[in-house]
């Protein structure tokens, strides 16, 4: 069974949900500690959401220097699948594994909603179980969610198909070109602001086709990586 590491920093909130999502998808979650420079042989890593180090300095800025992160950066550069969710996405940009950055939502309010996204690249380790252009609904909850990058970087991301998720129906935070998530060139590192790990089990997710709270659109992030690992 594939082992998926889930990192806990001081101030991480969604590590338990991420571990649960891995388990529901059929993988074995492995808790990784920020101060431990050891990936314990995991096959992939999830950086979950929350407010690591209280968002001090900038969201994700201090976490980037955690001992576990230097291991993750090396392993990601060798092809290890890494998914950054919300604060985890912010950590990945601060660690320069993904380009751009997140600033405060344009309207300055914390946003918490069920968000529709399109999956615009199904060739990454974390999206291969989706269909190209598929619309999915997963929760979005953040304060610093406005994705920004210079025009050259944005053009490059679009040109190389590295815009993996785009907000649909509404742009909830002013993100450039409606970008909700991106990948690195190789497609093993993916980051997004919305939370797939909160939409993996009927009864606990957003509203879905079968009724209130039946949405499980996030589960295939985790089945995708498991399928990617077994080839």
């Amino acid at each position: 069974m594939s082992r998926i590491g889930v990192v806990t920093f001081p101030g991480t909130l969604d590590d338990r949900d991420a571990a649960r999502a891995v388990r529901l998808a059929g993988g074995e979650p492995v808790a990784l500690w920020h101060g431990d420079a050891d990936l314990h042989g995991v096959d992939a890593v999830v950086l979950p959401g929350g407010f690591s180090y209280g968002d001090y300095l900038r969201a994700g800025a201090i976490s980037r220097f955690a001992p576990v992160m230097s291991e993750i950066v090396d392993a990601a550069n060798r092809g290890l699948p890494v998914l950054g969710i919300c604060n985890g996405f912010q950590v990945l940009t601060e660690a320069h594994l993904l380009p751009g950055s997140m600033i405060k939502n344009d309207h300055l309010h914390f946003v918490c909603r069920e968000q529709v996204l399109s999956v615009d690249n199904v060739d990454t380790a974390w999206t291969r179980d989706y269909t190209q252009g598929e619309r999915i609904t997963i929760p979005l909850k953040n304060q610093d969610g406005q994705y920004v990058a210079d025009e050259h970087t944005l053009d490059e991301l679009e040109g190389e198909g590295r815009v993996v998720f785009r907000y649909q129906d509404v742009n909830p935070n002013g993100s450039r070109r409606g970008i909700a998530g991106i990948s690195n060139a190789r497609g093993n590192v993916v980051g997004l602001m919305p939370h797939p790990e909160h939409a993996v089990e009927e009864g606990f997710g957003p509203d879905g086709g079968k009724g209130p709270r039946t949405g499980t659109d996030g589960l295939r992030f985790f089945t995708s990586v498991l399928h990617a690992l077994v080839g």
Binding site: L57, R58, A61, T93, E94, I103, K104, N105, V148, A149
Partner: protein, 87 residues
């Protein structure tokens, strides 16, 4: 005791939502002289001895590598704070 100040501001081309909110609040409160506001960060780094050129260079490096994110922010000033109390 010496002190170095590092000032970090959002890049001019990056919309500064906090600055915008500050500008709106100022005009609402009658400070209508100000057409715009931007909000940045000031870091005060203290050293045991004097602020040497070496210390300033280290502060500049820290400003670029840690205290700011070059994607969204610029280090706009690094200087010795002459008002720092000498122990």
């Amino acid at each position: 005791m010496g002190r170095v100040v590092v000032d970090v501001m959002p890049k001019p081309e990056i919309l500064d939502p906090q600055g915008k909110a500050v500008a709106a609040a100022l005009s609402r409160l009658g400070f209508d002289q100000f057409a715009n506001a931007r909000q940045g960060k000031r870091f005060e780094l203290e050293v045991e001895g004097e602020v040497t050129d070496e210390v300033l260079a280290a502060a500049r490096a820290a400003g670029e590598q840690v205290l700011s994110n070059p994607v969204i922010e610029d280090v706009v000033a690094v200087y010795a704070d002459e008002t720092a109390v000498t122990a």
